[in-house]
Structure formats: C-alpha cells, structure tokens
C-alpha cells in the first residue's frame, strides 16, 4: 500500500518540510556557512553528495541489521558506516579529482557528523522507504538544504551592507531571517497532495 | 531632407535629459573680455607633467611669448596670455583647493596686446610629425574639459590605426554654449583644424558630431563644407552625456570603446570642436594658445554671454565684470554636471575651463537636499551610460569596500558623468563617492611597492 509518489517524496523533503526550515536539521551549517554565497553553494553541493552516499549506506545497513536481527545497533552502525564511507569517498576524490576535492573536499569531514546527514538516515528508515524512495528522499533533502543555505547566503551578503542595529548583529539576525524564510516556505504546504 | 526628418538621430543607450538652460547665451556672440589687473598662470593646466618656466621674476613678456616649456612628451608649453611683467613665480591657488606651482603676471594697462607670431606650419607641406610637434608647441590641450594634451592623442601608437576623426560638437552639458558659438562663428577655423588633424592622424574621414538642439550650427558647418575634404556633419540625439567621447563614438560609429581602452582601439580619434578651431587658427601663424571661449551664465550672472577670456584671468575678476549677483553661493567651473564647484574665487580660468555657472541661494538649496538611504529604485542603473550599477557601487562605497567596487563592479570604468547622481531620488552624491573611491584606490596603488 503506497500513497506517496516519488515526486511527492521529493517535494516534501526539499520544499514542504525543508530539512533546515521545517525539521531543524543542519542548523549549524545553516548558521555557520551561510555568510558567503560561494561557500554556501559548495557546502550545499557537498551535502547533496554526502546525503546520497549516506542514504545508500544507511539503506544497506538497515537491510543488514534486519537480517541479523540487531536493531539496537542501528545508531552506532549508521554513524560509523556513514563516517567511514564519506572518508573513503573523500580519499577517492582526492586521488582522482583534485579539483573536485578542492571545491568540496574541505567540507566533507565537517558534514559527516552533522545532524542533517544522520537525520536523513534515520528518517528514511522510520518512513520505511525502499531504495529508490530513499534515494529521491536524499536528493530532495540535499537540494532543499542547498536551497535554504543559498537563499540565506544571498540575503546575508546583502545584509552585510545594511545598517543593522548593533543589538541584532550576528546569530540573532541570521535566526530572524531564518524565521522569515521558514514562514515563506510554509507557502509550499500541501503541494503535491 | 524629408527623409532626414523621419530618420531618428543616432545616440547611445541610457543617459539622461536634464533641462538645457542654453537659451540665455546661445544667441550671444563671442565678445572680448578685458585683461585683469593680475593674471594667474598655473604650470599644470593639463593632464601630464607640469611645464617648466623659462622666464624669470621681473621679466617683461609679450602676449603669446613662451612662459614655460613642455617637460617631456605628455606635457605642453605655456604662453603669456597678455603683455606684461612677471611678478612672481611661486605657488598659485587652484581649483582643487591646493596651492600649485604657477606664475603671476601683471599686464601692462592700455597696451595694444598684439600677439607674437611664431614659425607657421603649412598644412599642405607639413608631415604628420611636424603637425603633432606644432600642436604641442602651441600648448594645445583638449578644450572639451579634460585638458589632455591633444598631440598625445594624435600620435597613433605602433600597430594601431585611425579610420575616423570625430570632431566633438555635442556640447551636452547644460548651460554651456561655447562650442555652439564656435561652430557658428569659426567654421573656417574648424575646417582648417580638421585638415591638420586628418593629416596628423591619417584618418580617412572626419565627422562632426552635433546634438540636434543646435540645428543652426549644423546648418552653418554644412554650408562651409569644402568639396575636397572627406568631412561630414552628423546630428545626434539630445541626451546627456552625448558629448562624452565613448558615447559619441557609439552614436556615430556604433562601436564600443573597450573597457580600459582608448578610442584608438576602435580606430577613432575624438577632438573637441573648439580644440579643432584653435588648431586651425594657431598653427598657420605658429602662435601659442593664450585665450579661450568661455560661457559665463547661470541665474547668478547678470551679463550672461560667451567671451574670449585670457587664460589665467581670476574668477573673482570675471564675476565682477560679468555682473554677478550679491547672493551667489555656488559657482561651477565647467558645467553643472561634469564641472567642479569652486571653493574660492581666487583661482584662475585655465585651458580646460569651458564655462562658469553661478547659482544663487534658491537653486543651491534644491541641490542640498537631505540624503536618504538607497531604496534600490534602479533609476541610476537606467541612467548610467556605461551600464554600471551605481546603486551597488554607492552602497559598497558607503561601507568602504573599494576593492570590491573595482574588481566586481567596474568602478574604474565610471567616467564620472554624474547621471546617476542627477536621477537619484534619495539625493545620494554617488559620483562624489566614486571619485573619492577611485582616489583611495589610486593612492593605495601609488603607495604599494612596485613589483
């Protein structure tokens, strides 16, 4: 019995329930790496990439844990396997595409232990998505994350040249803009339903 | 002719339409101006190296006599604007507010003021090099405002060539009618000047570009066009800054001068009409430049008009003679768009001064309106003839991001036409910001150790 189409899974993860703006996953990069557009964009690309990898890894682990009947190892194995997979991929990229590594590489180790990645793995398991669905879910989540980060970065670059009152400078301003963005994304509610 | 009426005059994109205010003086023939009791001759009235004095204090000089020689190629000599005695060689006040090297000259009262003749250069026989040297010796600089030594411009660099000589008679600046009068009264001089220039540059043809608000000037020049000269008159749309050489080139030739490049990169040389007339007048007699036509106008002037004014005449004297109102509080050297508001009346007119515009209280007050923050209305973007983003540049300037301005937003391309400032509803003095930003960057570059 399936009622969620792939299209809807994608829309849901990217817009309606945007990982950052509705689920509050990956807030740290959202606050920390959204200062400059170029960085934000590369970070977003790296996140999409890592999300796809971890989604596939998590799918495999979950199947394996069901098979050996050890659900209690879920969390530990997710974090360990995701971290090491990303590490491997990082080494691989470093070896075969130094330019790609330069663009994404520095972000990879940082992202690995961020809640958006682990959250993605946990959500796809909780929602019982199959392999394809998981993949689409990860893609949507990554694109949604990038969208939020890039929109935020554009706004912050603009606000760098604004006479922001002293009291609101820094994280507070970023949070307020995040709140308004989150309000904006509420407009997507019910899409694809 | 009917066909001409249907055809739209060529022009460039963007730009503005400020009110012209030319009615007051455009019908006033050029008249001579009396000599001031003291003349002030700065040694650097042009872009480039200052000239070097060849006279000494107390020496008597004749009008047109060499006062200072050129110091190198990018420099021009200075000639005596009047017969008189050298009072002092020292520092003289300048428009920038700083004291600069210069000469004080006291004209002999009541002298006939005959102009000294030099070695004539005949257009038929002279080589391009000789013409260029003669232009330098005549002390000629761009009279269009920039005061760039004209001979430098005419020396076509190795590997480049000029195909069109554009004579700039646009005079898009409000209030000014100098070039207009020159085109009405000195057509033969202009034609003669074109002959010299064509020969010097090797250009195949010459075009006189005139804004359509001066039909009489175009008519007059067309009447004088000699059949043997590849010279034509092109009427262009009335739009500021049509007279900027880049815009004129675009209007007439449809070419764009590359960013950071010069007109010669698109095979054009642009010379102002008054400069051309001066060349045509001085070279056949081997004379040096000692006076120029200046429009004196504005609401603060009673005897508005166009005058031959000896170079070095102090501003205060000019205003006295022209009957300035008591309450003038803002005087522009040049037009109100490109010109500079003077901070002192003790400065002299120089070779680059094309107009003097004096405003009274009310007009000035309108200009000093409160500055609001940029509201992104886009008016400046729509006005900038170079397609820059003055709004962003202005914000960056406010936050002192000068390097970003230059690297990401082409600050250095801005030619300070002031169109953006003119249209800004928030009264942001954008062009001032840009001038200052460029200055900061230039100083920084000068200070940086050479690599």
């Amino acid at each position: 019995m399936k009622t969620e189409s792939l299209w809807f899974i994608f829309l849901n993860a990217s817009l309606i329930n945007n990982f950052v703006l509705a689920y509050f996953l990956g807030i740290c990069p959202f606050l920390g790496v959204s200062g400059k557009l170029s960085t934000a964009f590369r970070m977003g690309m790296a996140v999409i990439f890592v999300m796809l990898i971890s989604s596939m890894a998590a799918y495999g682990i979950h199947a394996f844990l069901i098979w050996v009947d050890a659900p209690f190892l879920q969390l530990i194995s997710y974090i360990v396997v995701i971290a090491s997979t990303v590490q491997l991929v990082e080494m691989f990229i470093k070896r075969f595409s130094p330019s790609l590594f330069k663009a994404l590489g520095i972000f990879l180790p940082l992202i690995t232990t961020n809640c958006a990645i682990l959250g993605l793995a946990l959500f796809q398991t909780n929602k019982g998505y199959n392999f394809i669905e998981s993949f689409v879910f990860a893609l949507g989540a990554g694109i949604g994350f990038t969208l939020a980060l890039v929109l935020m970065a554009g706004l912050r670059e603009k606000l760098d040249f604004a006479e922001v009152p002293v009291i609101a400078k820094g994280v507070a301003l970023t949070l307020l803009v995040g709140g308004i963005l989150s309000l904006t994304f509420m407009g997507f509610a019910g899409l694809g339903g | 002719m009917l066909f001409d009426l249907l055809k739209k005059n060529p022009t460039f994109k963007h730009g503005i339409h400020p009110p012209q205010f030319k009615e007051d003086t455009r019908d006033k023939p050029i008249r001579h101006f009396p000599f001031a009791p003291v003349m002030i001759v700065p040694l650097a009235q042009h872009i480039g190296k200052p000239s070097v004095p060849v006279v000494s204090e107390g020496q008597e000089v004749t009008r047109g006599q060499l006062l200072a020689r050129a110091d190198g190629f990018v420099s021009v000599p200075m000639h005596a604007p009047a017969s008189g005695v050298i009072k002092k060689i020292g520092r003289v006040p300048s428009i920038s507010g700083k004291m600069v090297p210069g000469i004080f000259l006291e004209p002999f009262p009541g002298s006939s003021q005959e102009v000294l003749e030099g070695k004539p250069v005949k257009v038929e026989s002279a080589t391009p090099e000789e013409i260029i040297a003669a232009i330098q010796n005549a002390g000629i600089v761009g009279l269009g405002g920039a005061a760039f030594p004209t001979h430098v411009k005419l020396k076509i660099p190795e590997g480049k060539h000029a195909d069109t000589l554009i004579i700039n008679g646009a005079e898009c600046e409000p209030y000014l009618t100098t070039d207009h009068r020159v085109m009405l009264e000195q057509a033969p001089d202009i034609i003669m000047g074109v002959r010299y220039l064509l020969k010097a540059t090797g250009a195949a043809r010459a075009v006189i570009g005139i804004e359509s608000n001066k039909p009489d000037a175009a008519e007059n020049l067309r009447k004088h066009l000699p059949p043997d000269l590849p010279l034509s008159v092109q009427v262009a749309e009335v739009k500021y800054p049509q007279g900027a050489e880049k815009m004129l080139i675009t209007a007439i030739l449809g070419r764009e001068v590359p960013s950071g490049g010069l007109p010669i990169d698109v095979h054009a040389v642009v010379v102002n009409v008054a400069t051309t007339a001066e060349i045509g007048r001085l070279l056949p007699h081997g004379r040096g430049i000692q006076e120029r036509v200046i429009t004196i106008t504005g609401p603060g002037i009673r005897k508005k008009g166009n005058y031959w004014i000896p170079i070095g005449t102090p501003l205060r004297y000019i205003l006295e003679q022209a009957g300035a109102e008591e309450d003038i509080n803002r005087v522009f050297m040049g037009g109100p768009m490109m010109g500079t508001a003077v901070s002192s009346l003790d400065i002299p007119v120089t070779k680059g001064t094309s107009g003097i515009v004096a405003f009274r209280d009310e007009e000035a007050r309108k200009k000093d309106q409160k500055i609001y923050p940029c509201i992104h209305c886009g008016a400046c973007v729509d006005a900038c003839p170079l397609f820059l983003n003055p709004s962003r540049l202005g914000i960056l300037a406010k936050f002192k991001e000068y390097h970003t301005m230059a690297s990401d937003y082409n600050l250095m391309d801005c030619f300070e036409c002031g169109s953006c400032t003119y249209v800004c509803p928030s009264h942001i003095p954008l062009v001032q910001y840009f001038r200052m930003s460029k200055l900061v960057l230039r100083n920084e570059k000068a200070k940086a150790p050479h690599v």
Partner: protein, 316 residues
C-alpha cells in the same frame, strides 16, 4: 513616496465603503501600530524619526489592506509591530529591508492566528456602518467570536467547491476577501497612476500578471474543468494588490530591468503553483516573500554587460 499613499487612498476608501466600520478601525489600528513602532524604535537607538519619508505609512496601509476586514484589532496591532520591527527595523530601516515589511507582518499573523486570518466577512452588509463586528473588538489575547455573516473568498470557492466568480464582481469588488484586495479595478488604476508618475517599475507587475495569465489561459484551454480562466486568476485574491503594490517594493526586488522581469515571472509561477496545486487557496504573499529571498541572487546573476566589455569589445 507620497504618491504611493495617494494611489492607495482610493483603495482604502472603497474598502471602508465595502466593509464598513471594521475596515476603518482596522486601517487606523494598522497605521497607529506601524507609525508608533517605527517612531519608538528609532527613538530608542537615537535615530531621527523617519516618519517624514512616508515609507512606513505605505507599509502600514498595505499591511492593513491585506488583512481580513474584521480581524481582531489586537491582532492587527501585533502584526503591525512585527511588520516594522522584524520586517524593517532589524535590517537597518528604510532601504535595507530584504523582505517586504508589510508581508512579513501578515505572514507572521497568518502563521500565528491561522483561523482568524482565514475567516472572511461578506461585503456590503446592510448594517456595516452602524454595527462593529464583535470580533473586531475582541480583547487582547482572546479568541475572536463572530457575530456577522461570513463570506467565502472567490479563491476558496474555487479551491474547495470549484465555483468560479464572474469577472465583473471581481473587478468591482463585490466579493469578500482582504480589506483592500477586492476591487481589482481600483488597484489597477492606482498602478497606472504610479507608472505614469514613474514611481513604479512597470516590468514587475507586467511580467507577474502576464505569467499568471499565460499559464492559466493555456492550462484552462487544455482542461477547463480543472483549471480556472486567466481572467479569474488575474482579478481574484490578492494578485492585483500584490503585483501592483507589493512585488514592486523596490528595496526588496532586483534593480535591473531584466532582473525585475525574471523576478516577476518567478513570483507569477509560484503564485500559480500554490493556488492550483498547493494546499492553500492563495499564495501571493508567500510567492512575493520568496521572490524577495531570491532577488539578491537575481541581482548577482543578471547584470547588464558593462559598456566596452564582453567578447566583442574586449581589448586585444
């Protein structure tokens, strides 16, 4: 900017005529809330009071005009404070607001009090000038109680019952809806006035309305049973008010002509998507806020080619 106020006044007057005393009180409250907040906040940080530049009056009027007419006044007040404090002051005041302040205020109210802001009153009630609806005067922090005939907006009729309203009623403001959105005709006239005074970038409304009209006409033609007509889409809901007065807030929109056009198209598409495929009957507010968020990127990506640059003119 005073011109914008002039353009809004007829709309406000007609709103009061349509919805009566409650609309009048609502607009007054919105003005008081916004002006007071602006004044006090600027006073607090030692800035000169900016009421003289009229921008906050525009914000207040627009904010008021986007609310349902009998919204409790205390909610109107809260939203007004938020509009100014969160939508404008926190970014540095005039010229720096990255979002449209009026819409920030409305979006806040819509998320905070979703029931109240989706309850509509019928237009032209006979006792509208003698009776103040009980909901209008609800005490602060209390839920409104409604004692008047409620109405359904043309868009919710379309979304939930699939009934289209005729164009004449939409143009003349015979429908229920937000205080100032009902008469498409007056709004369009106000827009033309502003365009004629060069106070407005006409490309934005043109691109926006054109996009909505084009998409809806094509889809209506492909399946008239599901998709409403272009004219219905144009004149219903807050589209006109948003396209003419709110998407055009230049502070939060792109600066170049092409950028403005792209911005209008993006907002237009998003409005159509939310209205037709989304959960909510109306999406103008969200679409414009989204457009505001995208506009720095539009300005970054769409820049006019600087004179003398580009392949053709590069110095070689």
């Amino acid at each position: 900017m005073r011109n914008v106020v002039y353009a809004l006044l007829p709309i406000a007057a007609y709103a009061v005529y349509t919805f009566g005393l409650s609309a009048l009180l609502l607009l007054i409250t919105a003005l008081i809330a916004c002006l007071l907040t602006e004044h006090l906040l600027n006073h607090w940080i030692g800035k000169e009071s900016p009421l003289g530049d009229w921008s906050i009056t525009i914000t207040a009027l627009l904010y008021g005009l986007t609310l349902p007419p009998h919204l409790p006044l205390w909610m109107v007040f809260v939203g007004g404070v938020i509009a100014v404090a969160l939508g404008k002051f926190i970014f540095g005041g005039l010229g720096y607001n990255v979002f449209n302040p009026a819409l920030v205020g409305r979006a806040f109210i819509q998320a905070a009090f979703p029931v109240a802001i989706t309850t509509w009153m019928a237009p032209f009630l006979p006792d509208r000038f003698s009776h103040i609806p009980s909901s209008t005067l609800t005490l602060p922090f209390l839920k409104p109680v409604y004692d008047i005939t409620s109405g359904a907006t043309p868009l919710s009729l379309m979304k939930f019952e699939h009934r289209a309203t005729d164009t004449y009623s939409l143009l003349m403001g015979m429908t229920s809806g937000s205080t100032g959105e009902t008469s498409a005709l007056l709004i369009a006239l106000g827009g033309l006035y502003l365009i004629s005074r060069k106070m407005m970038n006409w490309r934005i409304p043109l691109a926006l309305l054109g996009t909505v009209y084009l998409i809806s006409t094509v889809l209506h033609w492909s399946n008239p049973d599901i998709y409403p007509t272009g004219l219905f889409m144009l004149f219903s809901g807050g589209l006109m008010l948003g396209a003419v007065f709110m998407a055009t807030d230049m502070v939060a929109s792109p600066i170049t002509p092409l950028g403005a056009t792209v911005y209008g198209i993006i907002i237009g598409i998003m409005i159509y998507v939310i209205r037709v495929w989304g959960g909510l009957p109306e999406g103008v507010m969200y679409a414009i806020l989204f457009g505001n968020a995208v506009s720095p990127h539009i300005d970054n990506l769409i820049r006019p080619r600087v004179y003398g640059t580009g392949k053709q003119w590069s110095k070689s």
